[in-house]
């Protein structure tokens, strides 16, 4: 058994669903098949991780005169093996969950959905096991494509189509940096490996450029604008792509290319600040959202900010650990939110309330996810966040540290707000007809709740596997974070559960943040910068490039018009032409 199987199974599934349309049009059966493949992938990933094997296979893809320019293959090491578990576990859960969540979809659409899901697993596995940056970027684009396709799953809805296009626009814009970084790396080392020793300036340039791509994919300020809109896709898609795995690909890229980033301390400082600002600002925006998925989307932005900030401290473990734990509990939260939406038929938390009596399982699972995300001691999020803040403290990044600590309190507060508004209080109109989700949706959530609660307890062995050390210890920073988290929960309960402290509303800030200022900034940049440039480029293309082409056509036409007069059709004139040739030949002979 090898990592190749993890690549082969999903792409074979995708090819089968793509080519064999009668199978695809069965919908539910195709979904079961696809989910079975995803579960098999999870089993393989677990087996690979348990065996502790390392594998490296590289097939020379682009070869020029014996020199291998680029290769494709797979690299199995502790980093990729652990990430594989995260990816396949969440993917398997999400696919099983989708069978219930999307059970009312037309069969044709459902088949299409599962085809994209299989393609996504292939792309994500290819990204995770990539032996070099080129394959990583190729699969990076492929997951971006899957993201586009799945966001636009309900493409008949204009907002879904626009959100899909926006996701592509923003991430492509950021990918300009990523591509440039790859090219610079190739120029410097003649290859795409990330473990070359680079000169400091080159490392800084490459790391900075790669980080631009990371900002787009991992939704860092100010390139986060696509992620909230991506919630137009089905909720399981949000759980898999836009919470657990694809958006974490940017963080994973930093972890993979750690030698390059580690050699660029200036970029690390920038990273910790970008991450800190994102963690705090996104948490602020999440406070005032009324759409349950938007809250979770901004929360994802915020948590990705934590990861980036943690990696910016110069230590890898905290950020990577938070990536894995966050994948589990945020996927759980999204699936639970999907369950809520499934039950009530709305995304708006103001129309919900008192749902816990109707859907106790969902309420409990959402609560577990909330506690993990809030960083309550004992839950998964606590350990990773604690370690991450500790690293920031030890690296002396006090600014980002303060932002992250404040964000931790806000996180606990906004999650408590959602909990209280949705599950407690009196039942609203919509909730009267609500019902608990079927078992096929609850089972994956139950499964995910295990690592969401307990993943942090295994941080020590996990770090050991990566060749790093981790010991849990009680520190001042961790204490402050815990106090903030508990305080956030307490304030949240007081404000939204009990109804006290009504001054905690921030009306002005809410109005400002709800109007999406960054979105408007980008829109203005698009209107003022890109459109005029595109118009100029269009003018150049129409009148200069096309003009040249039309000129050559005109020359050929006009020349033909003139030259056709030579063709008189009279035999005699052709003989005269031959005579001219003979005389010229003789003259040429005389010259010799």
């Amino acid at each position: 058994m090898s990592a190749a199987l993890l690549l082969a199974l999903p792409i074979a599934m995708f090819a089968l669903l793509a080519v064999c349309w009668p199978l695809r049009h069965t919908g539910r059966f195709a979904g079961m098949l696809s989910a079975a493949v995803a579960v098999a992938c999870f089993g393989i990933a677990v087996a690979l991780f348990a065996s502790g094997r390392s594998e490296l296979y590289e097939y020379p893809w682009l070869v020029r005169s014996g020199h291998v320019i680029a290769s494709v293959g797979w690299r199995l090491d502790p980093t990729s093996a652990s990430m594989l578990i995260v990816v396949t576990a969440v993917a398997a859960c999400v696919q099983i969950y989708s069978l219930g969540y999307l059970s009312h979809e037309p069969p044709k659409d459902l088949g299409r959905y599962f085809a994209w899901q299989s393609l996504f697993i292939f792309a994500m596995v290819g990204l995770v096991v990539a032996p070099n940056l080129l394959q990583l970027v190729g699969c990076w684009e492929l997951v971006g494509l899957c993201s586009y396709l799945l966001i636009g799953y309900w493409w008949r809805k204009p907002s879904a189509g626009k959100a899909a296009v926006k996701a592509v626009w923003v991430t492509r814009f950021a990918d300009i940096g990523l591509m440039t970084g790859i090219v610079v790396l190739y120029g410097a080392t003649g290859g795409f490996a990330w473990d070359h020793v680079l000169a400091p300036q080159v490392a800084t340039a490459v790391a900075a450029l790669l980080f631009v791509g990371v900002m787009g994919k991992s939704a860092q300020m100010p390139l986060h604008v696509w992620l909230p809109d991506a919630m137009e896709g089905p909720t399981p898609v949000s759980a898999l792509l836009h919470a657990a795995t694809m958006v974490a690909a940017g963080v994973y890229l930093v972890v993979r290319a750690w030698p390059i980033f580690h050699a660029a301390p200036d970029v690390l400082v920038v990273m910790s600040w970008v991450g800190g600002v994102t963690a705090f600002t996104a948490a602020c925006i999440a406070l005032v959202q009324t759409d349950i998925k938007k809250v979770l989307a901004y929360s994802t932005c915020s948590q990705l900010g934590y990861m980036i900030a943690g990696l910016g401290s110069g230590e890898m473990l905290g950020g990577y650990l938070h990536l894995t734990t966050h994948a589990f509990f945020k996927a759980l939260l999204f699936l639970a939110a999907g369950s809520v939406i499934h039950a009530t038929g709305t995304n708006d938390i103001r129309e919900m309330g008192g749902l816990w009596r109707k859907a106790p399982w969902t309420a409990g699972l959402f609560g577990a996810g909330t506690l993990a995300l809030a960083g309550i001691p004992g839950f998964a999020g606590f350990f990773s966040k604690d370690l991450l803040l500790e690293e920031l403290f030890e690296a002396g990044r006090y600014g980002p540290l303060v932002l992250c600590l404040a964000g931790a309190g806000l996180t606990a507060f906004y999650m408590t707000r959602v909990m209280c508004l949705v599950f407690s209080g009196e039942q609203k109109e919509r909730v009267h007809h609500a019902h608990e989700s079927p078992f096929v949706m609850l089972a994956p959530m139950l499964f995910l709740s295990v690592p969401a609660v307990a993943a942090g307890w295994f941080a020590g062995p996990f770090a050991e596997r990566l060749g790093l050390e981790y010991h849990f210890s009680v520190t001042p920073v961790g204490g402050i974070a815990t106090i903030f988290a508990l305080g956030g929960v307490g304030l949240g309960v007081a404000r939204y559960g009990i109804g006290q402290l009504t001054w905690l509303a921030w009306p002005a800030a809410a109005t400002f943040l709800a109007s999406a200022p960054v979105d408007r900034l980008w829109a203005a940049a698009w209107r003022q910068g890109l459109l005029p440039f595109a118009r100029a480029a269009g003018w150049f293309d129409r009148y200069v490039v096309d003009g040249l082409i039309n000129l050559s056509g005109w020359v050929a036409l006009e020349g033909g018009e003139r030259l056709r007069l030579l063709q008189t059709g009279k035999v005699r004139d052709y003989v005269y032409a031959a005579v001219v040739g003979v005389v010229l030949l003789a003259a040429w002979g005389a010259m010799q």
Binding site: L563, R564, L565, L566, Q567, T568, G569, K570, V571, R572, V575, Y576, V579
Partner: protein, 99 residues
């Protein structure tokens, strides 16, 4: 008699034929003039064979005769065809090739 003498006679013959091709109006006359030019070429081949002491020249002249016969056959067939379709054998009448 030298090689140059024969070659110059052949060149004169060629030019006479060429003059005919360029001036005659009837297609039959044009084919006739082409025959004279081909004949001049044959004289050259035989002369090279003799003064170069090599049998290939004469062999080529024989082949050229066969070729010329083929050419005349096809050429005259075309003339007859043109005479039938255009009602004239004037070389200036067919102008389908005019650009």
């Amino acid at each position: 008699m030298t090689l140059h003498a024969v070659l110059i006679v052949a060149a004169l013959m060629f030019c006479i034929g060429l003059f005919g091709v360029l001036t005659r109006r009837s297609l039959v006359s044009v084919v006739l003039s082409v025959e004279l030019m081909a004949n001049a070429a044959n004289i050259n081949l035989v002369a090279f064979s003799r003064f170069g002491n090599h049998p290939w020249g004469q062999a080529m002249a024989l082949f050229a005769i066969a070729l010329t016969v083929a050419e005349v056959v096809v050429g005259l067939a075309l003339v007859i065809l043109i005479a039938r379709t255009h009602g004239s054998t004037d070389a200036d009448v067919p102008s389908a090739l005019k650009g």
